[in-house]
């Protein structure tokens, strides 16, 4: 991967919200085909950093450089209340014009094609998360920003979705910025880890980050070690409705 594939870079960026800095001194890059993850405790500035990358929040210091406009975003929380009648297919077309076939194809990838005509506000948390991811994939983005994309998804679904995310990065050759709590996935499947706690504690390849003192301090010795190389064996797979397929 050459340096020319740079999609976005933050340089020494920070956001100030009276009376303190939410995050400060963040420098990071995302390139084509790369998965960069942000980890860190609650309130460490992961979402704020993601929003800077997306240009939703403008840095109060430092700078953002973006080299693509094909961006898709899976936000951490979306509330759509009953007042807005919105089917899954309307939601899929929110910022993009897609044919029904394209929509079904994307929904199929995250295992929720059956929900095509359902109302958004009737979906469960996990189903909605899958729809959000499908919507982002359907845009065929160059940069994909995922903020806790598997929250509310059941255990096997989580593994499914993480596999999908890995495939997206390979198939679309897009760069992914991922905010995640899931240390197994972070350590096994991502290219670059940035560990935040109001600033960058440590960053680098997963194999070097796990040895970093700052990382061990933040996540505790036990957790940081035992969860590092987690393998999950399954001799069958489940569809999203729970049925078993081989």
């Amino acid at each position: 991967m050459s340096k020319d594939n740079l999609l976005v870079s933050l340089e020494n960026a920070g956001i100030y919200k009276s009376p303190k800095w939410l995050i400060r001194g963040v420098s990071l890059e995302v390139k084509n085909g790369q998965i960069v993850t942000l980890i860190g405790p609650n309130g460490s500035g992961k979402t704020t950093t993601a929003k800077m990358v997306l240009n939703i929040l403008e840095p109060d210091e430092g700078s953002l450089k973006r080299y693509t406009n094909k961006i898709a975003y899976v936000p951490q929380k979306i509330n759509i209340d009953w007042t807005m009648p919105l089917r899954v297919l309307d939601f899929m077309r929110l910022t993009n014009n897609l044919s029904n076939n394209e929509i079904i194809e994307s929904l199929n990838q995250t295992g929720v094609e059956k929900l095509f005509k359902e109302q958004i506000h009737g979906l469960s948390g996990g189903e909605f998360q899958r729809v959000l991811l499908a919507r982002a994939i359907a845009k065929k983005p160059e940069l994909l920003v995922l903020d806790e994309p598997v929250q509310g998804v059941d255990f096997n679904g989580e593994i499914d979705l993480y596999n999908i995310i890995k495939n997206i990065s390979a198939n679309l050759n897009c760069g992914i910025l991922l905010v995640s709590h899931d240390l197994h996935f972070v350590m096994s499947a991502t290219d670059h880890v940035v560990c935040l706690n109001g600033h960058i504690c440590c960053s680098g390849k997963p194999s070097s980050v796990i040895k970093d003192k700052a990382y061990i301090e933040l996540f505790g010795e036990h957790r940081s070690k035992t969860l590092t190389y987690y393998q999950h064996d399954h001799d069958h797979t489940h569809a999203s409705d729970g049925s078993v397929s081989s």
Binding site: K51, L54, N55, I56, N69, I71, A72, Y73, P75, I78, I80, T83, M84, P85, L86, R87, D90, F91, L94, T95, Q119, K139, V145
Partner: protein
């Protein structure tokens, strides 16, 4: 045909219903009901100024509404008071200033009732032209910005991240809202215009399941309210503006029936 005052009222009223349908949907999706109300209250100040300086009423109301909308955005940046407090502050202060100014203009006779409740039966040919041409422009702009505006309505961050520029379009939407109020103030009045924005859209929500459908059914319910309302007012000799709103609320109640039935069927 347009010589008849009743036909003129019908043509103007239907024009207004077509504009308030889509804008009303956006108002309820964005929880802006009280914002519409505030703009309508401030219209009184606009009308007073129009009389004082012999300006066109619609123009003056539009300018004042736009100023109020910008003031609101500005106040929101300066204070942490909740949105509804700021709206109340603006609504009642502009209403009060309007009434005080009116006192100075004692030489002019004001038709206060007409201002509050509108007088659709006094519609002139110019008014009709204003409503239809103005409405055409408003809906044209709305059509072009719909995708951005709608995505920002669903989720601001998402729209912003994916390059839909919600800031600009929110501002344009506010101006369009001010425009609708300016166009309809003479016919519906300051107190009832929010009703025509919200009630048809709310009724429509009860019987539709996607955004486009909701917009068109809201227009349809608006047209029905105006038509039946005007005929009722002619027949029973009631005031026209309130009659339209009464019909709208009856249609709203009817729209609840399929919702109830569906609920029972699912049980």
């Amino acid at each position: 045909m347009l010589d008849d005052f009743f036909t003129r009222a019908l043509v103007a009223g239907i024009g207004i219903a077509i504009i308030t349908g889509p804008l009303g949907c956006l108002v309820i999706w964005r929880r802006l009901s009280y914002f519409g109300d505030t703009l309508a209250h401030s219209a009184l100040l606009g009308v007073t100024l129009a009389y004082a300086f012999s300006l066109n009423i619609a123009f003056s109301v539009f300018v004042i509404s736009a100023v109020i909308a910008l003031l609101l955005l500005n106040l929101q940046k300066r204070t942490r008071l909740a949105g509804d407090s700021l709206l109340g502050l603006l609504a009642h202060s502009t209403l009060a200033i309007g009434l005080v100014l009116m006192g100075f203009l004692s030489s002019i006779r004001f038709d206060i009732m007409g201002l509050l409740f509108g007088d659709i039966l006094a519609v002139t040919l110019q008014d009709i032209a204003l409503v239809w041409i103005g409405g055409f422009i408003i809906l044209g702009i709305l059509y072009f910005i719909w995708k951005s505006l709608f995505s920002a309505t669903v989720n601001y961050d998402l729209a912003s991240a994916e390059g839909m520029k919600p800031n600009i379009y929110n501002m344009i939407f506010t101006l369009l809202l001010a425009g609708v109020i300016a166009l309809s103030i003479k016919m519906i009045g300051t107190l009832l215009i929010t009703g025509l924005l919200i009630i048809p859209a709310a009724a429509s929500r009860n019987i539709t399941n996607n955004p486009t459908q909701m917009v068109f059914v809201a227009i349809l319910i608006g047209i029905l309210s105006v038509t039946i309302g005007l005929f009722t007012s002619l027949e029973l000799n009631t005031s026209s503006g309130p009659s339209i709103i009464v019909i709208a609320i009856i249609l709203f109640i009817i729209s609840l029936i399929p919702l109830e039935l569906r609920g029972k069927l699912q049980k």
